[in-house]
């Protein structure tokens, strides 16, 4: 009996993942070319949330820009505020009071916790855990957001930092609540690890999936937890200390393989380090003013400046060109999320559709920052 080879004619097809898709974290769109379930190629399409923030910045006063920065990476507005204020302070040469520096560090680290809560929660949700990790992490984020509401009066767009400090001092019930929060968060991180760290299905889905080699990560300008998961030991809090980060003790968690699981683990480890930093900052927060004497309308000298911070998603920088007027001549945001997406195409090729979602989720982007 002879065997007859039967070959079916197949052809790749194009699937639009997004802009309205449950797990594209906003309005990201990928034109995905599929061969059955295998991703052959993706072509990212941006711009659905483009609001022209950089153009708007050119028309506002230096203080009036701060609410705009809230709307860049709307998951972590405190970090955006901090980066922008640092840039303007560097330009004007303003010295920030001690207490304000400590408050800024506390806020930035709380923001990192809140951001990583969302990042790991939605990553696991993308992996298919039916909303449970998502709900747990959102519950914890809610506690943090409560504190932000207490100090700044808003739950999303905090607009808390000002050029030369922070807008107002913390209310007296803030520090006790923070201490309670840190205790609860520590227990939560442990429990969360217990929930899914050793879960076989999660390991199968994420370990070894979407490996980002170190060289590619450097070449693509990847930063933040994604870069650290690939083994790049770069953290601006350590390498280019801004504010008062050189006073605190903390470790930089680094992954080994650079896969999705490592990115998830690095984020959880960073949450623990953030808790450590907040504890140290809480212990020796001094009394005093929270804002330097800065005029209502800031008028920096002509010149240009670049200040960057380690935002939860990576290196967030503001490049400001001033011509000596009350508004910047040009203000460029280094978009962490956009640059982190550069390597996505290399990471997902050859994986399945399900992996595409997991890898994309593990990068943790915000469309507000990608499109601006």
């Amino acid at each position: 009996m002879t065997t007859r080879e039967i070959t079916l004619k197949t052809e790749p097809f194009v699937l639009n993942v997004g802009p309205l898709h449950p797990s594209t974290h906003g309005v990201y769109r990928m034109r995905t070319t599929l061969d059955g379930e295998v991703v052959l190629d993706i072509e990212p399409v941006f711009g659905y949330l483009h609001r022209g923030i950089e153009k708007l910045m050119e028309e506002r006063t230096f203080t009036g820009i701060i609410p705009l920065t809230d709307r860049l990476d709307y998951i972590s507005p405190m970090s955006n505020n901090l980066a922008y204020c640092l840039a303007v302070e560097k330009l004007c040469g303003i010295k920030v009071p001690e207490r304000a520096e400590y408050l800024r560090v506390i806020m930035a680290e709380l923001q990192r916790l809140a951001n990583h809560c969302i990042a790991v929660g939605s990553f696991l949700n993308d992996a298919g855990a039916y909303f449970t990790p998502f709900m747990y992490t959102f519950r914890e984020r809610e506690k943090i957001v409560d504190l932000f509401e207490m100090v700044s009066g808003q739950r999303m767009t905090y607009n808390y930092m000002r050029i030369g400090g922070v807008s107002q001092d913390i209310p007296e019930e803030f520090l006790p609540a923070l201490a309670k929060l840190l205790d609860q968060l520590e227990r939560f991180v442990d429990e969360y690890d217990f929930l899914l760290k050793e879960n076989e299905i999660l390991i199968a889905r994420a370990k070894g999936v979407g490996i980002l080699p170190k060289e590619v990560a450097i070449n693509c300008g990847i930063s933040g937890p994604v870069a650290r998961a690939s083994g790049i030991r770069r953290d601006l809090r350590r390498d280019d200390p801004y504010s008062i980060y050189d006073r605190f003790e903390f470790d930089i968690p680094v992954g080994e393989n650079g896969d999705s699981y490592d990115r998830y683990r690095v984020r959880v480890a960073e949450m623990r380090q953030s808790l450590r930093i907040i504890r140290q900052a809480m212990k020796d927060i001094p009394a005093g003013p929270v804002k330097a004497e800065v005029p209502q309308v800031v008028r920096p000298p002509a010149g240009e400046v670049y200040a960057h911070i380690e935002a939860p998603k990576g290196e967030l920088g503001f490049y400001i060109v001033s011509d000596g007027s009350i508004a910047p001549y040009r203000c460029h945001v280094r978009p962490t999320s956009l640059i982190n997406l550069t390597a996505l195409r290399q990471m997902v090729r050859g994986w399945k559709v399900a992996d595409l979602i997991v890898i994309f989720g593990s990068i943790d982007i915000t469309m507000g920052e990608v499109d601006r």
Binding site: K55, N219, G221, D239, V321, R372
Partner: protein
């Protein structure tokens, strides 16, 4: 602490290799002739003691007379950084050589600059508008852009 290298030192180091291409644009930024950008970036990336292997960002500024494209490079190994600048004076059809071949991270950022400033990056493999749709009139971040 990331050290921003002084423009003087860089120029002194690179001037014999790239004669006439470099100038000081400020204490810590080097002005490079547009045509020499890929070669300079390549050299900065691989040169002994320089090793600027990380491209922080690329952006552009419109100064009416010319467009200035700014590159910020960092060396992860030596933890030092540098600002490179290049200018193109042609307003109608400005163009700068692309560095995508050297730094893949420049991909989306060059597309963004092309979209919002209209600066063409020669040699970019996929130079299309990124945020705005094809056919959008004008380039919004130019100073003379009028809706």
């Amino acid at each position: 602490m990331t050290v921003i290298l002084k423009a003087k030192d860089i120029i002194a180091r690179l001037s014999e290799k790239f004669p006439g291409c470099l100038a000081e644009a400020g204490t810590d930024s080097v002005l490079v002739e547009a045509a020499a950008i890929p070669a300079v970036v390549q050299y900065l990336r691989e040169g002994e003691g320089l090793e600027f292997d990380y491209l922080n960002f690329i952006t552009a500024v419109d100064y009416y007379q010319y467009f200035e494209v700014v590159y910020h490079l960092t060396s992860l190994k030596h933890n030092h950084a540098i600002f490179l600048k290049t200018r193109c004076y042609d307003r109608e059809n400005p163009s700068v050589p692309s560095v995508v071949g050297i730094f893949q991270g420049a991909d989306f950022q060059e597309r963004e600059i092309y979209d919002l400033f209209g600066i063409k990056f020669e040699g970019h493999p996929d130079l299309r508008r990124i945020f705005l749709w094809e056919g959008f009139p004008g380039h919004p971040l130019r100073k003379d852009f009028n809706q």
